[in-house]
Symmetry: C2
Subunit: 198 residues, 2 copies
């Protein structure tokens, strides 16, 4: 196992370089030769000093999920406290506002990945389903506590809230100087959905 910490550090550097390249020019446009050059390794074809581009993309997405999980959702169960869930979600959106390149990467990838042949297709289908399920669980928990505005139909609100966050982020990416508030946190729709908590 000698050399393992060094190999792990080298892998982390490669994943970081791949993330920076994917976020700046997009996954499709990034080349393995550039990524190798950016972290000072030579590329002797896939499998030599670098994994495939698909494997690098998977590693980048996994790494970002790990960071977000630790920062906002570690060990968290959306069925336990809906208010806590939405407060974590709002903090995640606030954090996203500090990393526009990351938000851009996810926005481009989630559309590119609509092609079933795209290497991240299954990841994004799963990710959307997972987030929608958490939002639905949290809303149902709030509904059971009488914290959802009377007369509000929460069916479909999981897709709507996720769409709202994604769509506001696109508007924000396109014209950041025009946004003086954090996307989604200032949105009136979430306020329409939930009753005020004393």
């Amino acid at each position: 196992m000698r050399g393992y910490p060094k190999g792990r550090r080298r892998r982390a550097e490669i994943v970081e370089a791949a993330f920076a390249k994917f976020a700046s020019i997009g996954y499709r446009n990034a080349s393995m030769v550039q990524i190798a050059a950016d972290c000072g390794v030579s590329q002797h074809g896939p499998g030599a000093s670098l994994p495939t581009k698909e494997a690098l993309l998977a590693a980048v997405l996994e790494e970002r999920d790990r960071v977000n999980g630790e920062l906002f959702f570690a060990g968290f169960d959306a069925t336990a406290d809906g208010l806590d869930y939405f407060s974590r979600l709002a903090r995640l959106v606030e954090y996203n506002a500090t990393v526009p390149e990351l938000v851009r990467l996810y926005a481009v990838l989630s559309v590119e990945a609509a092609d079933p042949a795209h290497p991240a297709h299954a990841y994004f289908v799963d990710r959307h389903a997972h987030i929608r399920r958490d939002i639905r669980d949290a809303l149902e928990e709030l509904h059971a506590r009488g914290l959802v505005r009377p007369g509000t139909d929460i069916a479909g609100a999981d897709s709507d809230l996720m769409a709202l966050i994604d769509g506001l982020q696109v508007q924000w990416l396109l014209d950041r100087p025009a946004w003086t508030w954090v996307p989604a946190c200032g949105s009136g729709l979430s306020e329409m959905l939930l009753v005020e908590v004393p």
Copy 2:
């Protein structure tokens, strides 16, 4: 002016080929050589038989706006009748559900264009501002007629509704078989916003 109809037809063919290529593999990945080959012309550099790639993108976006304008918004004033505006908008979303490649092109471009150096940056900033202004005008017209649910704050609802449509379209692109209804038309949020019209 002899030959003008032929030149116009040839231009339309080139714009159509460029649209198909941009929609299938993305603007950044499309090459002028491929587009030229697809419509059976030879490419002797920009300005010879084909315009620049930037000019082709502008022509594609202008052509789609012309079609949408004629189908849904020709001569329409959003301040005149808010209900009519939202009914046209819902029909546009229904139409979009029949042209997924077009929706994908707009979704990818609107994120790529976040880069101020992108040739479509100004187009998308203007487009977002224009749509938000129309939604705001329509909501204010409805509000003046007492058709907005009492207690609803319509400030920011223009951004929210546009985000909702864009975000639901991304979910739909990613997993179309899972959607049995047209994105946005089935959304509960627009129903929450407007009172029922007798």
